[in-house]
């Protein structure tokens, strides 16, 4: 009897185990994720299955990690582990880590990261200003972390964000693997057609001065019109600035943007080659480039620029506008946050009301076409030390995944619900003081959480911390740029060209702004000097153009 009972019990247990395994197997078949996420299949009242929602598994974060993180824009005085900073405490406590923040000087960004990579001494996390031949070399030499296959399923928010960026997927097409994460500027809120990504840089002019000298206030001007504005400002000095007046407060780099890049599309330091039928061309050799260069010389000769514009360093040229108040225009970032930033600075430094005295505009070529070199939807990529322990990397990815979720974005951009913002009539309402945003309240946000994976440009278009009129203006300007750039002025990025790498392309290194400023300042004939400059690069550029023609169909 006892034996029979034992046998029955064993049989029952065996059946339970078999049934359980069967149930598990069914769950697995329905699951879309792998790794550490499970999938919960929900059934609606109508009996239809809804999209599976990934449910985070309880993860073991008991081991404390310190992440070395290297980036430019670090504020040296900020304690990114401050116990008084609720934002960093939220992330650090949740994922049980602290930061070892390493500041990279922006003018030594490439050289610093290069040195680390080749010395096999990269920090755990490094932000790199993407250069394709360089990245290919690191990948070939195994100097950057290779993502495990199928990471996209484990961190779906990060994977989704990479689709916006485009670069990482295009790179994966070449190498078959993931080695970095691009940081996209825009997700769902970019007002332009997907693929069209005009620069967010804008020109700020003094509205009060323009009115005083009889210049009509508009959203955009041709380059001749803006030079006429500068000319009248110089002649009439509406701000009574005197001898310090600088009609166009532009450094060499920004002169290049305003004169050359306004007239000619393929003139960016990152993108200067393009297809022309079956041929490939160098944008700097286009006649439109010469036209811009001539206008630059004209502005210099007429005294519209700072006499020694080439000696501006750092942000001195924009400070002439919003700190010293002696400049008639500046070239600066255009988003709502930057408008707010300029407004704050003008109030603090000059006691001026931004809305009364400043107009944000952009400049077109004289035929009315807006030019912007093709840009990928990203700025900077995240790469990891190739020897980072996998558990440590996975936890970082967990954090990135949360930061890329809708809730994560709201937290980083807006702060804490009920403290920094609240919902009112279905809309987010800021509880912060006017003119302030989450990053001014929590210093650790910038640049670490602010740019953890997704950049702020997208959310800023809907961020109620910034005045609606600034956000609307940004959207309007993007739409106008796309509209005016339709005739080839604002083309999408061609990844075949952007990601073409060879010894010939790797040897190219330009300082367009410096070389062109040199032509402008030294009094030779502009066209002759420009041609001589093109000839001096022909031995490097000709093989590249020939290679592109032979290898890209």
């Amino acid at each position: 009897m006892k034996k029979l009972l034992k046998k029955s019990l064993a049989l029952s247990l065996a059946m339970v185990m078999v049934l359980s395994l069967g149930a598990c197997a069914k769950d697995t078949e329905e699951s879309t994720g792998g790794g550490s996420t499970e999938t919960k299949v929900e059934t609606t009242a109508g009996g239809e299955e809804t999209t599976p929602e990934p449910v985070a598994e309880e993860k073991d974060y008991s081991e404390h990690y310190t992440y070395s993180y290297a980036s430019i824009q670090i504020t040296e005085s900020t304690d990114y582990n401050s116990p008084d900073d609720a934002m960093t405490q939220y992330w650090e406590q949740k994922y049980n880590f602290d930061w070892d923040i390493i500041s990279i000087s922006s003018d030594k960004w490439d050289s610093t990261v290069n040195t680390w990579a080749y010395a096999e001494d990269l920090p755990d996390v490094t932000i790199f200003d993407y250069k394709h031949p360089q990245m290919m070399d690191w990948v070939d030499q195994g100097l950057v972390f290779k993502f495990p296959k199928g990471w996209q399923e484990r961190w779906p928010n990060v994977a989704r964000v990479q689709e916006y960026g485009g670069l990482q997927l295009a790179f994966e097409d070449i190498t078959g693997d993931t080695y970095f994460l691009a940081r996209p500027n825009y997700a769902n809120n970019l007002p332009c057609t997907p693929g069209i990504n005009p620069t967010n840089m804008m020109v700020y002019i003094r509205k009060d001065w323009a009115e005083a000298v009889g210049i009509e206030i508009k959203d955009y001007y041709t380059i001749d019109e803006i030079m006429e504005y500068a000319r009248r400002v110089k002649e009439q000095d509406p701000g009574h600035v005197g001898k310090d007046l600088v009609p166009m407060g532009l450094s060499s780099g920004n002169c290049y943007n305003v004169f050359v890049s306004t007239c000619s599309t393929y003139t960016s330091n990152n993108y200067y080659l393009y297809r022309d039928g079956s041929d490939f061309k160098w944008g700097l050799a286009d006649p439109e480039t010469l036209e811009g260069l001539k206008l630059w010389r004209q502005a210099f000769d007429e005294g519209l620029l700072n006499k020694e514009f080439y000696s501006y360093s750092g942000s001195e040229d924009v400070e002439d506008f919003y700190v010293r108040g002696v400049s008639g225009l500046m070239w600066y970032q255009g988003g709502a946050r930057y408008q707010q930033d300029v407004a704050n600075r003008m109030k603090d430094n000059l006691g001026l009301n931004y809305d009364d005295v400043v107009k944000q505009i952009f400049i077109t070529a004289n035929d009315g076409t807006y030019h912007s070199a093709p840009r990928g939807n990203f700025w900077g990529v995240i790469m990891f030390n190739p020897d980072i322990p996998i558990e440590k990397w996975e936890r970082y990815m967990d954090m990135l995944d949360e930061s890329c979720s809708e809730e994560g974005q709201i937290l980083i951009r807006m702060g804490f619900e009920g403290v920094d913002w609240e919902m009112k009539d279905g809309e987010m309402v800021s509880l912060l003081e006017a003119g302030k945003d989450a990053r001014s309240k929590y210093p650790s946000i910038y640049p670490v959480y602010h740019q953890l994976c997704m950049l702020s440009d997208d959310f800023v278009l809907i961020n109620p911390n910034y005045p609606k009129e600034y956000r609307d203006l940004t959207i309007k300007m993007y739409k106008l740029k796309e509209e005016l750039g339709k005739n080839g002025g604002c083309p999408p990025i061609d990844y075949d060209i952007y990601l073409y790498s060879s010894d010939a392309t790797a040897a190219l290194s330009f300082e367009y702004d410096k070389d062109f400023a040199n032509i402008v300042v030294n009094k030779g004939d502009v066209e002759t000097e420009w041609k001589a400059w093109l000839d001096s690069w022909a031995y490097l550029m000709d093989p590249v153009l020939a290679e592109l023609k032979a290898n890209i169909k």
């Binding site: 031949p133 006499k307 020694e308 080439y310 000696s311 190219l508 300082e511 030294n522």
Partner: protein, 318 residues
Amino acid sequence: MAKDKAGKPKPTFKKTLKEIVRFRGVYFIMLPAIVWYILFSYVPMAGLSLAFKTYKAKLGIWGSPFTGLKHFEKLFKDPRFFDAVLRTLKINGGRLILTFPFAIILALLLNELRMGKFKKVLQVTFTFPHFLSWVIIASIITNVLSYDGLVNSAIELMGGEYVNFIGNSKLFVPLVYITEVWKGAGWSSIIYMAAIAGIDQEQFEAADIDGASRWDKMWRITLPSILPTITIMFILAAGNVMTKGFDQVFNMDNAAVHKVSQTLDMYIYNVTFNAKKTDFGYSTAISMFRSVVNLTFLVIANTITKKLGGNGLMGGGD
């Protein structure tokens, strides 16, 4: 027994070893300097082999694949390289001729001062700029010479017209020399002052008895006495002709003078750090070329000095 040109017996290895043991205390003091030279000057020379390789970080310098003269072929095809070499020779050759004598003149003049305190104040004043970095000096120069700087304001006050000092290609090289003298002459003069201090005073006393003027003493005693020091300093400077002044030029560079400021070191910096891909093999090849040219100049200067009856770097003139 083998004898040298002076007729003295040539030292044998055994004898040298014996001397080292005998004066071991002195040689022991020299040891840190020898170790330093081996570690930081001779061991890194092995890295020059990279000029013939394609650097692979994981394989290290020794394990990286050999590529022969590929980097040199690329280098000698680059017109910018030749421009940079010629420019460097021009700027630093001029520097050698024009700025080198200033430290000697300063030392001679300071030596003639009789007021001890005033002499010290002047010495400190002339030496101080040496301790400022070129970053600071370049920003001082920019502020002083810019269109709204001290000098142009003074010119304007006197009714003159604005002079473009910092953006004028023709003034760039003279500015390099002037700032070099301002920063370095005081410091370099210390060596000559030390050499002057070592001159036997009896020569001056004898000259006084003979009724020599101060000019005669300076010209016929002081200067000839420090000539060996001047010679050595000149030979060393000649051996530095391709490398001198990178941080100075780098900090004084701006877009307006970009064409005349691209020396060989600036070229190396650009191809190493501003290229789309860092190629350490190529950069090393350029550095190697630079070192060979430096060595050639050093040997030439040394040989000429010896031919002219001087001692040269290793002593023992013909």
